[in-house]
């Protein structure tokens, strides 16, 4: 483990940014944290987390897949893929780091998604341990320890110092780069912080939330539960929960007619939308109740069924704070879990 003082953090950032693009959570004008590119002196936000999740770095809301250009009767197909620049995302919280495992299983399974894979290959994730979780946090429900985040490099921030620990080869390389600016140290201070955070985690209002009622093989048990009607009653059918979610990975592929050709692009889609996966015969989920159920069944039953029991929720709490009608996965789990 290595450390640097917070006073020298900017020079460490400068060192990292000298060979790769560096992104970190920055306070925006309206007081919320946003992942932004680091420029000389850009201060790190103190906020617990960003409104938009860091999945945007690997799976952006829109991206062009290919282009077609028409000239007379010929069509030219243009590959728009470019080699991704190396980049580092600093300050990713433990929950969001876990979300990349979930996305990887979708995008890196055969057939590999080359667009996503290229960004994963060139991206280095530096996580940052939480010390002041919010009441909406429930990462521990999914076995995530907010105080010891994964990622290529893990960081812990104390009053005056930043501690760095490499976990992967990519992480080792990054630590090597900043070797001169950091010093070897013991992990005592980190251990102390972890214990303190663990005590806070136990006090969180959602600390008791558990996944016992969910997981692979529970489809028949849960699908026709009468509670779905009540839970989905007020759902507006907007896409807020899916778009702020770090693990939602559904997308649509669309063609945009530019007037002299076509851009084939993909963009996030939401199972909450009435036209989601619309096919020639029409929609396959006709009511909001069915769409609502799909979202939560996917996260809590279908995904674990296909992925060795891994739930596709990381308990980041974004949907808890952003849903216009305050309906969310924690309420669903409590209701169906028999509370």
């Amino acid at each position: 483990m290595r450390k640097c003082s917070l006073n020298s953090l900017q020079s460490v950032f400068g060192k990292i940014a000298s060979s790769a693009l560096l992104y970190l959570p920055v306070d925006s004008a309206d007081g919320r944290a946003v992942f932004s590119k680091w420029d000389d002196g850009t201060p790190l936000s103190n906020a617990l987390n960003t409104v938009r999740s860091p999945k945007d770095f690997f799976f952006p809301q829109t991206e062009d897949l290919m282009r077609f250009k028409t000239e007379g009767k010929s069509i030219e197909v243009i590959d728009v893929r470019e080699e991704t620049e190396d980049f580092v995302v600093f300050g990713v919280r433990a929950c969001d780091v876990k979300s990349f495992d979930i996305l990887d299983r979708v995008f890196l399974a055969e057939p590999r998604d080359s667009y996503y894979a290229s960004r994963r290959d060139h991206g280095v994730i530096v996580s940052l341990a939480c010390t002041r979780p919010s009441e909406t946090c429930f990462c521990s429900t999914f076995g995530i320890d907010a105080a010891s985040p994964a990622g290529d490099v893990s960081c812990w921030k104390t009053e005056s110092e930043m501690f760095w620990q490499a976990n992967t080869e990519k992480g080792e390389a990054l630590i090597k780069k900043i070797e001169e600016l950091t010093e070897e140290c013991s992990d005592e201070a980190v251990k102390e912080q972890q214990e303190k955070t663990a005590r806070i985690m136990k006090k969180l209002p959602l600390a008791g939330l558990n996944t016992d009622a969910f997981g692979g093989g529970k489809t028949e048990e849960l699908f026709d539960r009468p509670e779905w009607t009540e839970l989905s009653e007020a759902c507006l059918g907007c896409g807020t929960c899916t778009f702020v979610c770090p693990t939602c990975q559904c997308y649509d592929i669309k063609d945009f007619n530019t007037g002299n050709g076509v851009i084939r692009y993909r963009c996030w889609d939401s199972c909450m939308y009435s036209e989601f996966t619309k096919m020639a015969h029409g929609n396959n989920r006709l009511s909001q109740k069915e769409r609502f159920r799909q979202r939560f069944m996917h996260k809590l039953v279908y995904y674990p069924e296909n992925n060795d029991g891994l739930f596709s929720c990381v308990g980041c709490g974004r949907c808890l704070s952003k849903c216009p009608i305050s309906m969310n996965i924690a309420k669903v789990m409590k209701k169906l879990g028999g509370e």
């Binding site: 309206d30 009540e230 009653e233 907007c238 807020t240 778009f243 952003k322 216009p324």
Partner: protein, 332 residues
């Protein structure tokens, strides 16, 4: 603190259910943390007593729910309406969007709703409970031993700071006292932006609109947006899109949405309340309201049922489109 209590509302709802006046109650259902309140339809006394809630975080405008929740029910639906909700209620009636016979509307006074983001700006994250019963909000955080006392006026939602009316314009029954139409400063921010140079205005809106993630929450919560299929969801419209692919798409969506509700928007502020990215969308609607008031005479959508909006009306002497920019004498 609200002037009417949760107990009064619950007893009212229970008595109306018991005597058969209504069969369902559209109300607020308690959440995990006192502030995450979900609209719900109650149909029995037990569930009302268990989960019905009324406090400073009951901001959701129920009027739009009447469109879907009055469909397919026997009997009447009881709805509690805050003053601003009653304007949307009338506007929806004007547009024949729900059956008035199926609704029993109770007007309830509102002292303004709190914005949880403002509470968190003062008290920090980790709020375990908020007590709204006294003069001050008592906010308990997991990081503090004693609750933090917050004045409601410091955490009032923007739309409530600039409340346009405490008067109920529609109800079957009123609980508590009716208020008055207020002289609000709601157009001040619009005027401030108007006074900027075009370049500044462009930058201001670029900065705001570029945050849009096109979740459609503004549209889906809007009581004026009640199309069965929105033009932006209809593949046959030619403009259907799911994402803010670039600046143009962001501008297009928000200009067109504001235009589609122009003259029908009651300025309830739901769009800005629900925006996960805190975009001040209400300013677009207020701009239209301000312009229409100045050019075609004062008009408040939803003030009466059946009124004609400025954009479905005309006079022979209207301003020419080129003249709206230099109408000095109108502003004077």
């Amino acid at each position: 603190m609200q002037k009417i209590t949760k107990e009064q509302l619950t007893e009212k709802a229970v008595s109306l259910l018991r005597d058969g006046t209504v069969t369902h109650v559209l109300g607020w259902s308690a959440g995990e943390f006192d502030y995450d309140i979900t609209p719900a339809v109650f149909s029995d006394e037990a569930s009302l007593r268990k989960s019905f809630v009324w406090n400073d975080f009951c901001g959701a405008n129920f009027s739009k729910y009447l469109v879907s929740k009055t469909r397919g029910i026997e009997g009447k639906l009881l709805v509690f309406l805050k003053p601003c909700d009653t304007y949307s209620f009338n506007q929806l009636l004007t547009e024949h969007r729900f059956d008035r016979e199926k609704v029993y509307a109770i007007g309830i006074p509102c002292e303004g709703m709190a914005d949880i983001d403002k509470v968190k700006a003062i008290c920090g994250d980790g709020i375990s409970s908020v007590n709204c019963d006294g003069e001050k909000l008592l906010v308990q955080s997991i990081y503090e031993d004693a609750p933090i006392s917050v004045s409601p006026s410091d955490v009032l939602a923007e739309r409530c700071v600039n409340c346009k009316s405490k008067k109920h314009v529609a109800y079957d029954e009123l609980m508590g006292e009716d208020g008055d139409v207020l002289d609000s400063a709601r157009f001040d921010e619009v005027s401030r932006i108007e006074a900027m140079s075009p370049d500044e205005r462009f930058l201001f809106w670029q900065n705001e609109l570029s945050r849009c993630i096109r979740c459609n929450a503004c549209r889906d919560a809007c009581p004026a947006c009640t199309c069965e299929v929105c033009v932006f969801n209809n593949p046959r419209s030619g403009v259907e899109n799911k994402s803010p692919a670039n600046n143009f798409e962001e501008q297009m969506f928000h200009i067109i949405r504001a235009f589609h509700v122009a003259g029908r928007c009651t300025d309830c502020g739901e769009c800005s309340r629900v925006c996960p990215q805190n975009i001040p969308l209400h300013l677009l609607n207020r701009k239209f309201i301000k312009e229409m008031n100045e050019c075609y005479g004062e008009y408040q959508a939803g003030e009466t049922v059946g009124s004609k909006s400025p954009l479905t009306d005309y006079t022979l002497e209207d301003l020419e489109p080129g003249e709206v920019f230099d109408r000095g004498d109108i502003n004077a």
